[in-house]
């Protein structure tokens, strides 16, 4: 499963950008410059970028709380993310969503606070796409822990029952908050649940960007061609802690060591170098450019305008008077 050179390089760049955004977030937290809670996706970049990559602009993506991978993958910019993260008036959500990223330009309708509540939204967007006879696909990206949420069941059921153009992309990063997956699941895999709804599924390596991209592309085409929903489970490892307040003692060091050897960015870098697409020098330039992009996004966001008291009451209803 190989991708064209240019494509692979583009995905590599996006993975670098994602990691730079998250590392910068961590640094700002550490320096006490921001309070914004973090849920980093370090080590999972090939999943997030791989699932969002094959989507078209008009396709819909529901993302997760973990990192910015799928958002960058779908076309959100570092600048837009930081303006919103810092709660600025000029943010995508006018500073009201912050971590709940949403960007209509690239068809990301928002992120819920209670995990899994949006399982059914993906069914709804796919339903309306089918009703209006477009070939738009919805991709629902979700953590394996969240797949235990009650709505996962009727949502997958309805998607299969109505043969809707939706892809369920499950990121199995081995954790749900502070516990290993085996405290949450009696089975090795989540994907086998799809079989209960007569839905096709794949279980794939989440560290290799070419695999994640290609398999997702196949699932999306399946959905786009009117064949109904598809589920893909990507096996990866959460190298970061759950969030900025996680004590972290529960993570086994041998796991970090084992998965650390298969870092998705390192794997992709090696591929690019082996194929003669990337030199060490070009790589350094790329990394520098990405960090500069993030730094200037952060700088611009810090100097962005704060919302005012009027904004507090704005956008509750279509017409302000109703309140």
């Amino acid at each position: 499963m190989s991708l064209e050179n240019e494509k692979l390089l583009e995905l590599y760049r996006k993975m670098l950008l994602v990691r730079a955004i998250e590392q910068t977030h961590g640094k700002l937290l550490q320096e006490g410059k921001i309070q914004l809670m973090s849920h980093f996706g370090t080590g999972q970049e090939a999943v997030a970028i791989g699932v969002a990559g094959p989507l078209r602009q008009e396709d819909i993506l529901f993302g997760t709380h973990r990192g910015v991978g799928e958002y960058i993958g779908k076309g959100m910019t570092a600048k837009d993310i930081w303006l919103e993260y810092l709660g600025k008036k000029t943010g995508l959500c006018k500073g009201k969503g912050t971590l709940h990223l949403c960007d209509r330009k690239v068809n990301i309708p928002g992120l819920v606070s209670s995990l899994g509540s949006d399982f059914s939204y993906a069914v709804g967007t796919a339903l309306s796409a089918k009703m209006s006879k477009t070939d738009q696909v919805t991709l629902y990206f979700v953590g394996e822990g969240t797949c235990n949420q009650a709505d996962a069941h009727p949502s997958m059921c309805m998607a299969a029952l109505w043969k809707l153009p939706v892809v369920f992309a499950v990121c199995t990063n081995q954790f749900c908050e502070f516990a290993y997956m085996d405290e949450h699941y009696p089975t090795e895999d989540v994907a086998i649940r799809a079989a209960g709804y007569g839905m096709p599924y794949d279980i794939v390596d989440g560290q290799d960007i070419e695999t994640t991209y290609k398999v997702t592309e196949k699932a999306i085409e399946h959905a786009r061609n009117g064949k109904g929903p598809y589920l893909v489970e990507y096996k990866t490892f959460r190298m970061a802690l759950h969030h900025s307040g996680d004590p972290g003692e529960y993570v086994k060091s041998e796991d970090l060591e084992k998965w650390g050897k298969r870092d998705p960015i390192d794997l992709c870098q090696k591929k690019l170098q082996d194929r003669g697409i990337l030199t060490g020098e070009r790589d350094q330039e790329l990394r520098k450019a990405v960090q500069t992009e993030v730094d200037s996004a952060v700088e611009e966001a810090f100097s962005g305008p704060d919302p005012t008291v009027d904004d507090l009451f704005e956008d509750v209803y279509a017409q302000k008077e109703v309140i």
Partner: protein, 324 residues
């Protein structure tokens, strides 16, 4: 030109007219192709199965499906059979539905209408009889509608379907199933939210009654008239937004306020109204506000007990007299 229609017909006609007018409008819910109470009956014949969608029983998820469709250009009318079952969809309704526009910075509106049947009196006991409107008062961003006449049901439901805000529309079972009839224009009409109707003018006491309780209040008015007590009966029609001006003007005239709802008393609609009165009309009040509502007990199945549970004409008459 006016015609006589039933409450049930009013709901049905509102949906049919809006579906004819706007192809993005569709109906979904459990058994809506037949219609458990009949509101959606016949729609499938005219509009087909694609726009009249039977769903599995999963209230929170089907509410989410409606929301997702609305984020993507649809205008769903979702039936949640019994108001009691809206509690299974509380996550969507209270955590997300009314807040989505705000939290996305006005990028995504969620124009859905949730219709649900409220009310006791059918000996269906605790979980198929409740009036839980006040449970939704705390959720920002929602419109809450509760009509008492066929005329209002039709006009308000059409407004709800056209609204760019999410609406929860309460239909009382005694109105749907009781064959209640009334006059409505032949021609197209809608009714704006936040406009109360004075069902009976009066000078002595202001009685604000919600939904089916309007009828109990009107019965109380007749009885009180025999004792020369002249009450004013206000039907707010929409709980949110509430027509505070009409209520305020009435209390300015009477100096007395009685609130009447079928839901329970603690933290109810009356509690909210009383709080408003204590703040905004305190100096107008000549007597303490009286709240008529159901007691803080489950709804019992026994006919005798259910009747004792429900607020009625007699409890309204007593409350009015307490203010005098």
């Amino acid at each position: 030109m006016a015609k006589t229609i039933s409450f049930l017909q009013a709901i049905n006609e509102a949906m049919a007219e809006e579906m004819r007018r706007d192809s993005s409008v569709f109906v979904l819910g459990e058994d809506v192709r037949i219609g458990p109470f009949g509101q959606t009956a016949g729609l499938v014949k005219e509009f087909g199965e694609e726009r009249v969608l039977n769903t599995p029983i999963a209230e929170n998820a089907i509410t989410g499906v409606a929301m997702g469709a609305a984020m993507n250009g649809g205008r769903p009318v979702l039936e949640l059979m019994f108001c009691d079952f809206t509690m299974l969809a509380m996550d969507q309704i209270c955590n997300h539905l009314g807040q989505w526009r705000y939290i996305t910075g006005n990028q995504y509106a969620v124009p859905i209408t949730i219709r649900t049947a409220v009310g006791a009196g059918f000996r269906m006991a605790y979980g198929h009889s409740q009036c839980l409107e006040s449970q939704l008062l705390q959720a920002p961003g929602l419109i809450l509608v509760e009509p008492s006449t066929p005329h209002d049901a039709k006009g308000l439901l059409k407004s709800a379907i056209r609204s760019d805000d999410p609406v929860v529309f309460f239909e009382h079972k005694k109105l749907i199933l009781g064959g209640v009839e009334g006059e409505a224009p032949e021609e197209e009409y809608t009714i704006p939210f936040g406009e109360a109707v004075i069902r009976k003018e009066g000078k002595d006491v202001t009685v604000v009654a919600f939904g089916f309780m309007v009828y109990e209040a009107l019965n109380a008015a007749q009885e009180l008239a025999q004792e020369d007590i002249d009450i004013e009966v206000i039907d707010p029609r929409t709980i949110v937004p509430l027509d505070q001006d009409t209520i305020f003007e009435s209390v300015e005239k009477t100096g007395r306020l009685v609130t009447v709802e079928e839901g329970r008393i603690r933290g109810g609609l009356g509690a909210e109204m009383a709080a408003l009165a204590c703040g905004d009309y305190f100096s107008l009040l000549k007597a303490p506000v009286q709240r008529i509502a159901a007691p803080m007990v489950p709804i019992p199945g026994s006919p005798v007990l259910e009747d004792l549970y429900l607020p009625n004409k007699d409890s309204i008459v007593r409350a009015v007299k307490r203010t005098l």
